[in-house]
Symmetry: C2
Subunit: 382 residues, 2 copies
């Protein structure tokens, strides 16, 4: 059964747990209902955004200039990724940009499809995104550590979905190519320790601000030819990317940056207008609650807490991954996903991520209500 069609029903408590199977970032909604919400309101008159074209002089001709501007402003504020000298591309979520990167990096005239690999545990969507059309250009080849060869595309997700680990490429061949999926490299999830400057870096509004339904991601790409090919992918696949969605994303990203700039100007306290501070505080509370529940239960374990100096917030902080990678230490439990389902906690099995059955992934970014029910149930499992 699909991860997205699990029969979840709204407003019925036993089923609210289904939400934790997906990383639906509804946690952020409370922030956007706060004082900053007003400035993020989008108004589009009936006659706007009618043309296919956004910026005909740009190699990504469907990229709204206002969206590109806000992407550059936000990275400059946070310092998590270099933008100087990079091409900005927009995609219908970062899933589309991931496929665009495969398309751009694969050799169209090769005898065999290029192998796509990632270190286990890897994001469960990478294999189907690579293979669902049975493309002759690329083929999923599993764990990067088990790969033997020189030609490959290695996907590095850091912080990693599902386990939150900080990662670097494990393969080092000159003819190999890397895609860096940095969806979670934002201050609410992890200390920002470096301004990254990889060849292809993918981001998404979903995980940055919580606007998953807008379906907007972006890529920072160093090489012009690769950027052109990626843009070509979006052109073929969907004749570009919705302008309305881009305007929405620009509004939301702009509100985040404005929140910090205005706060500095006003020297005011509180974090109601500071997305990353607000969200980091909430995430840290949730991780405390989860670790307490795990300790109370006594049969589970989590990855060790990791701390570092955050160059954005200028303090030493622990990481608060968007997912909990929960392992069961009880010998009799062989299939943790099933075991938790019996306890009305719906998660995604480690097998989907190239790992074993004794581990599951759980969303840490769902609503307060869903998260509260989850930790309470977890604490009582013996």
């Amino acid at each position: 059964m699909s991860a997205f069609t699990s029969g979840k029903k709204k407003n019925t408590k036993p089923c609210v747990m289904y939400l934790l199977r997906r990383g639906d970032p509804t946690m952020f909604e409370t922030f956007w209902r706060g004082p900053i919400g007003e400035s993020a309101t989008l108004v589009i008159p009936g006659y706007q955004t009618m043309s296919y074209f956004s910026d005909v002089g740009n190699l990504c001709w469907f990229l709204e200039p206002g969206f590109e501007r806000e992407v550059r402003r936000l990275h400059s504020l946070v310092g998590n990724a270099a933008v100087e000298g990079y091409h900005v591309l927009v995609g219908t979520g970062s899933s589309q940009l991931f496929q665009a990167a495969l398309y751009a990096l694969a050799l169209p005239i090769a005898d065999a499809p290029v192998s796509v690999v990632s270190t286990t545990p890897f994001y469960s969507m990478y294999p189907p995104l690579t293979d669902f059309l049975n493309s002759g250009l690329y083929r999923w080849a599993g764990d990067a550590n088990a790969f033997d060869g020189n030609d490959y595309i290695e996907v590095i997700c850091s912080p990693n979905n599902p386990d939150g680990s900080i990662r670097e490429a494990v393969l080092k061949s000159k003819s190999g190519k890397d895609i860096h999926d940095l969806a979670y490299y934002w201050p609410q999830y992890t200390p920002i320790t470096h301004m990254l400057a990889h060849d292809i870096m993918l981001f998404t509004v979903s995980k940055c601000t919580g606007h998953a339904g807008t379906r907007i991601g972006w890529a920072l790409v160093k090489d012009k030819e690769v950027a052109q090919k990626m843009s070509k992918f979006m052109e073929q696949s969907t004749i570009g990317v919705s302008k309305d969605a881009q305007l929405r994303a620009a509004k939301v990203l702009g509100a985040v940056t404005d929140g910090y700039e205005h706060q500095l100007a006003a020297a005011a306290g509180g974090d109601a207008n500071l997305l990353f501070h607000y969200a980091r505080r909430k995430m840290a509370h949730r991780w405390c609650a989860l670790r307490a529940a795990v300790a109370a239960s006594g049969i589970f374990s989590l990855p060790n807490e990791v701390a570092g100096f955050c160059t954005f917030t200028k303090d030493t902080v622990t990481s608060n991954p968007a997912f909990a990678w929960l392992r069961c230490e009880k010998q009799e439990v062989e299939d943790l996903e099933s075991f938790l389902r019996e306890n009305k906690i719906i998660t995604r099995s480690g097998t989907k991520f190239g790992a074993d059955q004794k581990v599951v992934r759980i969303s840490m970014v769902d609503t307060d209500e869903a998260f509260g029910i989850f930790v309470n149930r977890l604490a009582t499992i013996k």
Copy 2:
């Protein structure tokens, strides 16, 4: 060179002709700047549309209920396609739905990719949309009339892009499948003669209302299993479709239907709130002007004018295709696209549509300014 990256520059007269190479439906902008525009304005607060999910009980879980409602209302108003008993699916433009239909109709376990065919001249994007990922599921096989075999997917575009002809399937095997691309089956382009009820019918906001930049298309699908597979394609490819874009499309489609309902209620005259009447009048003027220019020049020809009784407007009208399929009758001109480019008219060659070099496709839905320059230049070519 890509059809979308032709180096077109804004506001420079010699280059304005580049627009006619694409079917960018900017003609409609004047309508949306009129009295109806106000009611089509979209407002989205910062906290809305955050979740991935739109309607968890629907097989197309990312379909906004308000968008589905407006799709059904509009078809009920126009009478061009059956909606009763059909599943509505949303896509990032109808290009994505076309690929979703190929994915749903192909057999994943087949030895060889299924052949995708369409009668010549066919829409120039069908071959690259089918083949750009070198899929093992389906493969472009050209002209339907030249196809020999029982297993195929036939694409029927009616009215046809590029030549405006009304089409039916030419292949009749029991194991063959059809996709009906009805992007242009709206009253501004052609008389609505039947309420169509094919298995898979594709539509797009671009050609219906002119909102190409919103990137929203929809499919009406009879079979539940096919609809599920098509929905699965959008899930894999882009994790659904932008909610903001769907809300925009819903607003625009709703304004069109409201325009007719309010007009009837007020018994008012004029067509400023009646999209199809307004657009049909403009299209008819343009076709008159084009036929006059062709006659003045003396070296070109166009498909014959076709008329029929329109069940929507309840009168007999001629068709006004969104593209002119212009043929050159002058013996010395072998490559019409190049010949017209020398005359500063940028078009798309017949070769892109599976036809010959002596014919080109020209957009009839561009701005008044671009269209005016075009017909004036055309009339003077001898």
